[in-house]
Subunit: 504 residues, 2 copies
């Protein structure tokens, strides 16, 4: 038996994933661990999916409502979606099967600011949470739990659930112990107090989860890797976007608006975010900090090079190679990394106080700086907005990044009007494509349109955007935000009709 379970009472509750999954009943709400494919339970969800499939085969109904930290993996979201086992899903997902079922109208999905979910579940209007299924890296002798590679909402789910299933994953490095900062000071209003983080490196919590051993109904041992995010070499567009950003940082330092250490960085997930870190590593900047959600490969490299002095996050999202490197050197990284609960990693109070430089990807932006992070052609959910709103709204500077075109040029990521708004004109300070960087701060809507067309749009679409904008200036009802309201979404309709946004 695993040497990771040091509490005798909990050691006595070790059982198979199938036996554990039998504790989860149809129609109940389950809180599971998992954030950007790390720290999710590796065995119980698949066993639950089998149980659900078997129930369906017998003609019985069996669905659950599922809350997590953020995205998980094919083994979890994929398996449960495939089994038709999910009625309601919050707050974020990125699994292909689940996405398909959401867009087919078979799963109700609530795309939620990641800092907001815990308080709403605590407040009770999602109903009671029957079960928590949480991956940990060890159980200590006193029953406290060493978190694994993500913290997410686990503290809340452990506190709220009537019964708890623990997965102890021996694949996770034992040296994770001590890296986490679990804050037990949150409360519902009117009992809230200031969150006393004044720098990304401040610790305010404890390294372990509390959990009443009496509530634990099952302990399952696993040895499985996190979902790996295959590392792709940065493409030319990502490198160009990253270079524009680093140049902008240099410019702001020269203007005296950022100091040499910049401000704490928040960086979204994906190849552009990795490219930004790679460009920073190449730059003269050093001793920076990150206050972000996710530690990706690029951030690990930046910690190695000293470009980053430390990073605060709630989860990892690593390639196989980087995960191996991290596991082999976790003790070394422990002094430079803090993993917090997502309420704290994304807390609006802290994002505002620390003055974050928030860099997030997007699907499209429009002439006036509104951003769509979630919906393809206004109706299809891609993943979700995740923490982008938590960071962008309260950031000191908010950057939104995308290549200027997609689908081989048939989609312009700069459009007359976005087909869905996740970030309003008020929250979008800088738009960056491989074509250039548009600093929209202090600009009126028309001034923004001028800059976005000239700086960010792909040359193949620039004339078409200019044509729309000029006709809007001539024919708009009002000239504060000029639009031809009957034509504003015509680019999306054209793509749906003809397969391209390009005019014939």
């Amino acid at each position: 038996m695993s040497t990771r379970i040091h509490h005798p009472g909990l050691r006595a509750k070790v059982m198979s994933a199938e036996q554990a999954a039998a504790f989860i009943q149809p129609g109940t709400t389950v809180g599971m661990s998992g954030f950007t494919g790390s720290g999710y339970p590796k065995a119980v969800p698949a066993a639950l999916a089998e149980r659900i499939t078997a129930a369906h085969a017998r003609g019985e109904q069996f669905q659950i409502n599922l809350h997590t930290g953020a995205s998980t993996s094919t083994e979890m979201d994929g398996a449960l979606a495939e089994a038709g086992g999910i009625a309601l899903r919050t707050p974020f997902q990125s699994d292909p099967t689940m996405r398909k079922k959401i867009n087919a109208g078979e799963i109700e999905y609530i795309d939620t600011h990641l800092s907001h979910l815990a308080q709403t579940v605590w407040n009770g209007f999602y109903g009671p949470m029957r079960t928590a299924v949480i991956e940990v890296s060890a159980i200590r002798e006193d029953g406290t739990l060493v978190p694994s590679s993500s913290v997410g909402n686990n503290k809340s789910w452990l506190d709220l659930a009537d019964q708890v299933i623990l997965e102890v994953n021996s694949w996770q490095s034992e040296d994770l112990e001590g890296m986490h900062d679990v804050y037990y000071g949150t409360a519902l209003p009117p009992h809230r107090k200031p969150v006393l983080v004044n720098s990304p490196s401040d610790r305010i919590g404890q390294p372990y989860f509390e959990c009443d051993p009496e509530k634990v109904v099952a302990v399952v041992e696993t040895h499985g890797p996190d979902r790996n995010s295959p590392f792709k070499p940065a493409d030319d567009a990502s490198i160009a976007i990253a270079q524009h950003l680093v140049e902008f940082f240099e410019h702001e330092v020269a203007q005296g608006r950022y100091d040499e250490r910049l401000l704490p960085l928040q960086s979204g997930v994906g190849n552009i975010a990795n490219a930004v870190m790679a460009e920073l590593v190449k730059s003269r900047f050093t001793g920076l900090t990150a206050f972000t959600e996710v530690v990706q490969d690029g951030m690990l490299d930046a910690l190695d090079s000293g470009t980053l002095a430390m990073a605060s996050a709630t989860a990892f999202s690593l390639s196989t190679e980087s995960a191996e490197r991290f596991n082999a050197n976790a003790a070394k990284y422990r002094d430079k990394l803090i993993l917090r609960t997502q309420e704290i990693s994304n807390h609006p109070e802290l994002v505002r106080r620390l003055g974050i430089l928030a860099m997030n990807g997007m699907i499209e932006a429009d002439l006036y700086g509104n951003v769509n992070s979630t919906h393809l052609m206004g109706t299809k959910m891609m993943n979700g907005l995740g923490g982008s709103g938590d960071f962008a709204r309260n950031a000191f500077t908010s950057f939104f990044l995308t290549p200027s075109i997609a689908k081989g040029g048939d989609i312009s990521c700069i459009v007359p009007m976005v087909s869905h708004v996740d970030h309003t004109e008020h929250d979008v300070h800088v738009v960056v494509t491989e074509q250039g960087l548009a600093d929209l701060r202090g600009l009126s809507p028309k001034q923004r349109a001028r800059k976005i067309i000239d700086t960010c749009a792909h040359p193949d679409y620039r004339d078409q955007l200019e044509d729309y904008y000029q006709r809007a200036l001539a024919g708009s009802g009002g000239l504060h935000t000029p639009h031809l309201i009957g034509e504003a979404l015509s680019w999306h309709q054209r793509f749906l009709d003809t397969g391209t946004m390009k005019q014939g």
Copy 2:
């Protein structure tokens, strides 16, 4: 000479408004006081408008960039807009002449979260602030300043401006002294500290503005009332909306989700907000608190009745009658009212911590709970979003309120897709019209649509909305947020073409 100017050096600088206005030069940035028509300078703006008009008559260019707290009055925004004297305006306005010029494309306007402007001006990318023109109610012997009926951004403008013009308005009650709480603890990152307000009644600042007397170039004496907001008896729709809200509060108390004192209230400006206060006064609720921007007539009544124990705000917006009542009894209200800088009254950190119940008006909402607070038919600026975003995003519960129809029924305020988004689906918890209250918390987009059509839409538009929604369910690209993207804004186009959103 006024007995309100107790500093000898500043008494020596008393001059006429015309003389003071001569200090303001073309092409410069001016920070003026004023928030929802209170505490704005009464004389210098008009004198400046005359100076600008004369310059234009001589063929000279003369425009300024103008920052305030929020809206001012016809004497100020109206006069300066009429004179063609404004190049750029932030962060909020509500003047008819200025609105017309914004929508004619003659004034660049940046609609800004009210808690965000000060930090962006401090950070410097609006360029230097040459002049501050600030109304105060008295100058003390040591040169500190007693604020008047709004605090707004005055502390920042006094600190930032190269030169200061003070207006000392003897119409303002002398008993305002001691009511204000001016916080001097703000900073730019990385030097920010927690803002230690744990309850709406906590004071963290001082009752006076600091201002180096050397920077003061002119002192102008005035005796003029604030813009009055004529009190209109509540109409049936406002009363119905207010009743739905109070019923909802009762329901949440019964469910154990709010306690008997509710949570601190934020209430926007206008007749619906007054009606909400009136219904609360009639209800059994007592000893409530407000943490809000503006004290309106209804809030004064609620303080009188004990419904509200105290209110924290940044400004007044009173009818003539209520202003007289307030001035006659200011000493009495001083223990129950705190006027703060707008950075603090609207601070995201505090809105989140205190758990505000945020109630704001809107222009329209769509099936999925996106809200437009600012743009008529997607292009014409009405006023601005003001503090609605500061409060709604970080609120414990965010409510958006509107009658279900406008323009005698030719506009439905519930539409398939809003023509501009100020508050995304993620930030809109409850939508209320006179028809009913839709609690959208914990609902997916399609569940929200069902509830909004059934509960909030006007009967004249319900079939039309249902028809759109059913056709969207049948023909949408994706079924997460069903839309017919080519038709989503057709209601607005129909109104522009035919004068009504109703189908022929």
